[in-house]
Assembly symmetry: C2
Homo-oligomer: 190 residues x 2
């Protein structure tokens, strides 16, 4: 592709504009919720026109999906080593991210709520949640295959037992899950 036919891929100003709009979408989603958020309110927050937003995205959900997918994610998934260490690493990371109210974590309540009444948000939220969970399911499955996890419970349920308390704390209590406590959950499973 040459620059003419696909300027988005090469123009740094366009890339910057996309980043600013994505950031605004995440902030707006966290602050006012999915229902109250509009392309207009996002454009205003980003300091661009509605037309600029619509040039890149079809609508709210398309933009939210894009914003969440490109949000800073500095997790390095450990692909080898003892399963205990790999689970500790990833659950500590998750606990820290869930406690960060400036990032994706602040959007989860809005997605949970909109999933109740908007089918397309629900599909997106569940798919997105599955995608993130799969990283841990794969490690748990590796642990089962290697004999490090000897529970008869399957990898899906074990993963939900591992992450459930962290999300419970974030969504149902005032106190985020202490990363130092993730080993207490892992101890139960291993």
């Amino acid at each position: 592709m040459d620059a003419e036919s696909s300027p988005d891929l090469i123009d740094p100003r366009v890339e910057r504009s996309r980043r600013v709009i994505c950031r605004a979408a995440i902030e707006e989603l966290a602050e006012v919720g999915y229902g109250a958020m509009t392309i207009e309110s996002i454009a205003k927050r980003a300091g661009v026109s509605k037309a600029t937003v619509y040039r890149h995205w079809d609508g709210k959900l398309d933009l939210v999906a894009s914003a969440l997918a490109t949000a800073k994610d500095d997790l390095v998934v450990p692909s080898s080593g003892p399963v205990r260490d790999r689970l500790t690493h990833i659950l500590r990371y998750l606990a820290e991210r869930l406690d960060d109210d400036n990032g994706i974590s602040a959007c989860i309540p809005a997605l949970v709520s909109a999933s109740q009444y908007d089918e397309s948000v629900r599909d997106f939220h569940h798919h997105n949640s599955r995608r993130h969970r799969q990283v841990i399911i794969d490690i748990v499955q590796a642990g089962i295959d290697a004999g490090e996890i000897t529970r008869s419970t399957d990898a899906d349920l074990i993963t939900e037992i591992l992450v459930g308390p962290l999300f419970y704390r974030r969504l149902m209590t005032p106190t985020p899950f202490d990363p130092d406590q993730v080993e207490a959950i892992i101890d139960l499973v291993l």
Copy 2:
């Protein structure tokens, strides 16, 4: 008190009206969320005037608190017997309730979301959640005291490990937690 000074306590029509309004509040909260719900929309759904609602409650949160507190709750908390049986009973009940989209369960996403931006809802939601959780914490603590639970983990964290996966399924996945699977979690803890 005589009937004159406190008619609410004795008039069955008033009691019925309160019940209808509470039911309407729960339905409205589940369907449109806390932010979009108004006393006017609740009154309309209940077929009463706004003034009737304001005669009983100060505002939205007061009404929601009242509605959730009086919602049908047929849980009989087992006060004796093996801790495993008591936990199985209460977690099965919780799994069933979380799968019932006509009841309180459908309001949880709205409360989670409003907690993100409304401090009084947040306080209410966390207090309410703590109150429900306390029933399980007490059973877990009894199990620790009786030596049935020998984990070094405290009763609060054990309770979050027990209920976390059930709420995770409700809020982050399309599939409710199967009541038959609660024993797999209890096995991990006992």
